[in-house]
Subunit: 161 residues, 3 copies
């Protein structure tokens, strides 16, 4: 880490964020795969009190709740990423770029603010990794339904040193 | 291939799987693209008797049928991957990792078992490539509809030696 | 650029296409991220007269309109790609492969021609980059809804020299 970089753990502490442990996949896959200097993180669904955060934007989840759910998913992904880095003898400060975020918003046919919901995740990543490392490409869109009825699911591609 | 690795073709034979030929894209794109040591496989829809396997989970396709459809798609992707490797003078035993699976499940608004449907593909990949090479990151979610009305569509990113 | 390659700017001129400036993200992310020799372009929604091109296939957008919208999105992505290359002192002629396209079609539950809609983008990429560089892997599917009600959203992965 150069002296000009953001210290990710200091940022997490300032945001009062305690990283959760790696979310155990609900099925026959793994939380992440590294290939070259990229880590592909599996789609994580929003959880609340250890259960799927069930609901649909435009129906029974407000924009603010959706944004909060997206933020929670991003924190979970950072937790998984921390574990992935630790397994290589590295830390979150060795992340060189959040490359790409794909955000799936469980929404009705008349809800069109998927980008604002997803900002809950994007802004968290910017706060934690800083404006350079945290600046990512992104796609966000509405889906008919998500595993276990969750309101948001997000996957991420990350570059490490 | 090291002696500790899974022999993919032996696994396929034990599972009584005959790989299909490369699925010809229904449109203006190609079945796969290699960049560096990654192969990006196009989304393949489920097919039955040479036609799109039409239907929707939660409506007229059961969970077991959906899982079977996901397995069929995965077999088709392995067939395309075999052809991709052969074009480089390589075999499926030169695949070093199934990196990422994205699974789109055509489902109603009240179906929430996309992860279980997708296990049909993930488990097949684990059986064929073994627990190390076959362990992949994954996202699965419900979509409003798929090309030609298919019940499942899956795309895959693969790493080769 | 070898003499056998397609000159992208000549192709654009022949197609009477003026590249738009980089589309400013509607939210907390960036238009593209480069990692190694890959550029991940954010999902771009279809726009018309500077506004989101609102509508749904199967409801109030015809197949031809959807194809035209997909073409417009692809032109916008090429505009962003031009800016990305220029920022590195390169041009679109240094693009070595359009690797992967993901196309999200805002569609009703009974619309099944997402692949034909997406051809509006795929054919444009083939015309602009030629049959070798422009040949890409692809996934296309129907989504419940898109940011700002747009009818099509497309993201792209590109390889450069």
């Amino acid at each position: 880490m150069t002296t000009l970089s953001t210290d990710v753990y200091k940022q997490l502490a300032e945001l009062n964020i305690t990283l959760p442990p790696v979310s155990v996949p609900a099925a026959a896959y793994v939380p992440y795969v590294q290939t070259g200097n990229l880590i592909f993180l599996s789609g994580n669904i929003a959880r609340k009190d250890g259960q799927a955060w069930v609901g649909q934007l435009g129906k029974n989840i407000t924009l603010d709740e959706g944004k909060a759910a997206a933020r929670v998913v991003a924190i979970g992904l950072v937790g998984t990423l921390h574990a992935a880095m630790a397994a290589k003898g590295k830390t979150l400060n060795d992340v060189t770029r959040i490359v790409k975020v794909m955000s799936l918003v469980n929404s009705t046919a008349d809800f069109t603010d998927h980008h604002l919901v997803t900002n809950g995740a994007s802004e968290l990543l910017g706060q934690v990794f800083g404006p350079v490392v945290g600046a990512h490409a992104r796609s966000a869109f509405g889906v008919a339904q998500l595993p276990m009825g969750a309101c948001v699911e997000i996957e991420m591609i990350v570059e490490l040193a």
